[in-house]
């Protein structure tokens, strides 16, 4: 960075005022006997965006903290950070090249959709069992592994759709069996601390699965072939394809945005499955039963729903969703037994960011994390350093969420049961 001191000065100024803002605003709202649940968040964002000029009126007037008052300072804070970066590093691609920026944003959105989809599975498990599945990344890995082995090793030339379905079926069964064998003591009151038991036992599953795959498949990276080639298109005309140009492996929009085929396909599939899932959750009896259990176990049981069976279904379905994401992405990334660790962490972040058990929250959270990662990998000057920090970007989002707004974007404020605690 050319003028890195500008960036760091602005950043420390923002951090200072956001810390001050979060404490002072909460204090003042508490003193005036107002709702403090969002005060710390608004205060810190106001402090980060316009510093004392925003904090003083906020503390003097103590307005009602509406949604608009929460979103605007947060966006402003992001904008300030971006402007500071632009001034600090005027030579950077992120500042000079608009096509690079557009490309990063579109790719961030696409990968964010996939992240969000994967996090959805975790959110489902979390909202119904009250447990974070630490084996989520391993389901993702196994989904990809099965698809790769079926299409490339066991039955070469097999239609990828069949392999993907087989991967989903296998992980669904695996999830159901594991839940029956190992998670049942949680609901029967046999363990003192069910949440911790759940964390540890899924952690054990993750460990076992990861090394089992490594022992059987080896530690060399795999990469599946593309499932589908794009038709070659030139729009509006073959001489001047400024609107759209495709080759078999990628697609170019407006001569500036390049999207690779596997990612676009993965995102498309995720959206389709998401719609199917929403239909299932909203319209079918089983889906409604699932949502009922996530809202109130006892009441659902009284209404004739068997919560234990819903637990099994949720865990199996959650694992299957992760496996589907993995099966779609095995054609985009090289696949190792350890590949699940980073997506799993990312899913945790998205679930916390979106709010527990909130499906739209998980999706929006996924897109935000996707954009943050795209910005992080694209804009940090030293590419090697930027790549090393990939797991850290989402963790920074997690840290900020837990510090500023532990309920997440769409979190329920008064959730019952084990998952209401944090």
């Amino acid at each position: 960075m050319e003028f890195s001191y500008i960036f760091w000065t602005v950043l420390s100024w923002m951090i200072f005022w956001s810390v001050v803002g979060s404490f002072v605003t909460r204090r003042i709202y508490l003193k005036r006997d107002l709702d403090t649940s969002n005060a710390a968040f608004v205060g810190s964002m106001m402090g980060a965006s316009i510093g004392p000029f925003g904090l003083v009126p906020l503390c003097l007037n103590t307005p009602d903290l509406t949604k608009r008052l929460m979103v605007a300072p947060a966006l402003a804070a992001v904008a300030v950070l971006m402007i500071a970066f632009a001034f600090a590093d005027p030579e950077n691609y992120c500042v000079t090249s608009s096509s690079f920026v557009a490309s990063q944003i579109v790719n961030g959105l696409i990968i964010g959709i996939i992240y969000g989809f994967m996090a959805l599975g975790l959110s489902l498990i979390f909202s119904i069992l009250g447990v974070v599945s630490f084996a989520h990344g391993e389901f993702y890995m196994i989904g990809g592994m099965i698809t790769y082995f079926m299409t490339s090793v066991w039955f070469p030339g097999l239609n990828p759709a069949i392999a993907i379905l087989a991967a989903c079926a296998f992980t669904f069964l695996l999830g159901a069996v594991f839940e029956r064998l190992f998670l049942t003591p949680m609901y029967e009151g046999k363990v003192d601390r069910p949440v911790e038991y759940g964390i540890l036992v899924t952690f054990g599953l993750a460990f076992t699965l990861q090394y089992f795959v490594q022992a059987t498949a080896g530690a060399n990276p795999f990469k599946a072939r593309r499932y589908l080639d794009f038709p070659v298109l030139r729009l509006p005309s073959s001489e001047d394809p400024w609107l759209l140009r495709t080759s078999r492996g990628s697609l170019e929009l407006f001569e500036m945005i390049t999207i690779s085929n596997p990612r676009l396909m993965a995102a498309g599939t995720c959206i389709l499955v998401l719609i199917a899932l929403l239909y299932f959750m909203r319209r079918t009896w089983t889906g409604k039963a699932l949502r009922a259990v996530s809202q109130d176990r006892e009441a659902a049981a009284i209404a004739g729903i068997n919560p234990d069976r819903m637990n099994m279904l949720a865990f199996a379905l959650g694992g299957m969703i992760a496996a589907l994401a993995g099966a779609m992405l095995v054609q985009a990334f090289s696949w190792l037994p350890q590949v699940g660790a980073i997506p799993a962490l990312r899913s945790f972040v998205i679930v916390v960011l979106g709010g527990l058990g909130s499906l739209p929250g998980a999706f929006l959270g996924g897109i935000i994390v996707g954009l943050v990662e795209a910005a992080g990998t694209g804009c940090i000057p030293d590419t090697q350093r930027a790549a090393s920090y990939i797991p850290a970007y989402s963790m920074i989002v997690l840290t900020l969420t837990l510090l500023l707004r532990p309920t997440g974007l769409f979190g329920r404020r008064f959730a019952g049961g084990a998952h209401g605690k944090f």
Binding site: F126, V131, V132, L181, F182, P185, V191, D192, R193, V195, E196, Y197, I199, L200, V201, F203, G204, L205, F207, T208, L209, Y211, F212, Q214, A215, A341, L345, F348, V349, V352, Q384, R385, S388, Y389, I390, P391, A392, M395, I396, L398, T399, L402, L403, P406, A418, H419, K421, F422
Partner: protein, 404 residues
């Protein structure tokens, strides 16, 4: 002899065995077994301090290896970048302290060319052996590492105050990952994945009881690690059996109820974080000096899984059980390392042993929630209590039912 004294007696016997072991054992694989035991003690410190944090206080932190890394990296960076020189180098940043110059070497990262040397090496080339530069004492590195671990523990303890259960686990995992990413990313300072070299624990060798030990000798680090383990266990045992242990267990059972009954939950939650992370950092710093290198791979989730699994299999609610579990599992894992062949297939045990280990972890959790070692301790120390209770209860039932 009463039965409940057996665990204490067995503990003394184990300590005596480990004290005598280096002098009695003389087989060919002496160095190998000794390094296994040193690693075993290292994992025992981590597992027992983690069992204090997770088992006693109920704070399921996955950042324990992060604290270990803080300790090890503080010590490594300190030893790598700070030197004492009687003559100013006039190339590095340096301060006059007493009659010596404190030289701070510039960070150049990993370079293969000899042209690009750091400022101290350049100065040494110019002096051509006429000046002796003293590296910083190792004990100071260990102390600094421990203190830094405590500071990070304080910081993380403050940040996780409002978090419970899953959120705490995620946050601490995040801390550990951010730390690992930072260390791998800042190649100029930490040399990234290449790892940073550290001096020997006793660079000049050491003379103990009239016998000289070389710097590569296993006996001094063995006893250093063993006494550290004993000290940590003593501190943890004292804490667990004092008011502190009672309060942190109250915190585990119900934080709100404990607070309502007058336990200063904030203070104890932070204290338990600081103490256990200091122990992890201490173990990390000493282990780093012993193996001469620390790299970000030591902070990986696999390492954390090992510590968690050791503590859980040993028994998470007893520090001694966790420590014994760690040593045993370290041994078993090493014994299982030998690959073998069944017909045409080679079974690569370096990986399969971890699969077995994972299955064992899950089965232990499912069927023996107290771990595998706590029940043995309990059988001897509390078995008579259970028998007496059963006898009393049957007597009570008999009386109530009017039988004699």
């Amino acid at each position: 002899m009463k039965r409940q004294h057996i665990p204490a007696l067995a503990g003394l016997l184990i300590v005596a065995f480990f004290m005598a072991f280096p002098f009695l054992y003389g087989a060919n694989d002496y160095r190998y077994i000794m390094s296994l035991l040193i690693a075993g003690f290292y994992y025992a410190i981590l597992a027992s301090s983690w069992s204090m944090l997770a088992g006693y206080a109920g704070q399921f932190s996955f950042g324990h290896m992060g604290f270990m890394g803080v300790g090890a990296y503080t010590a490594a960076l300190f030893s790598h970048y700070f030197y004492l020189s009687p003559v100013p180098t006039e190339l590095c940043t340096e301060f006059l302290i007493g009659n010596q110059y404190l030289v701070i070497v510039d960070a150049i990262g990993v370079t293969s060319s000899t042209l690009n040397q750091d400022c101290l090496r350049q100065a040494l080339t110019i002096w051509d052996g006429s000046v002796q530069v003293t590296p910083m004492p190792v004990w100071l590195g260990i102390v600094l590492g421990t203190v830094m671990g405590g500071l990070f523990g304080l910081l993380i303890g403050l940040l996780v105050l409002p978090l419970r259960a899953a959120y705490l686990a995620l946050f601490t995992l995040g801390f550990s990952e951010i730390l690992r990413a930072t260390i791998s990313g800042e190649i100029a300072i930490t040399r990234g994945q290449a790892g940073i070299e550290m001096p020997y624990l006793f660079e000049q060798g050491i003379t103990l009881f009239g016998r000289y030990y070389d710097k590569t000798d296993k006996i001094p680090p063995y006893f250093v690690m063993f006494f550290l383990l004993l000290t940590c266990l003593a501190i943890l045992y004292y804490l667990a059996s004092s008011k502190f242990g009672l309060f942190v267990r109250a915190l585990r059972e119900d934080q709100d109820a404990a607070a309502a009954l007058g336990v200063n939950t904030t203070r104890y939650k932070i204290m338990v974080f600081v103490i256990t992370s200091m122990m992890a950092a201490l173990a990390g710093a000493v282990m780093g000096y012993y193996v001469n290198i620390i790299s970000p791979n030591n902070l990986m989730i696999l390492q954390m899984s090992l510590v968690v699994a050791m503590a859980v299999i040993g028994g998470i609610e007893n520090i001694f059980a966790a420590a014994i579990g760690a040593i045993i599992i370290q041994f078993v894992l090493e014994i299982l390392r030998n690959s073998f062949e069944i017909g045409p297939f080679t079974v690569d045990m370096t990986i399969w042993r971890l699969v077995i280990f994972g299955v064992l972890l899950m089965l232990t959790l499912r069927f023996a929630r107290n771990g595998l070692i706590i029940p043995i301790i309990d059988y001897f120390s509390r078995g008579h209590v259970a028998a007496e209770t059963v006898a009393k209860r049957t007597a009570g039932i008999d009386k109530a039912e009017g039988r004699s």
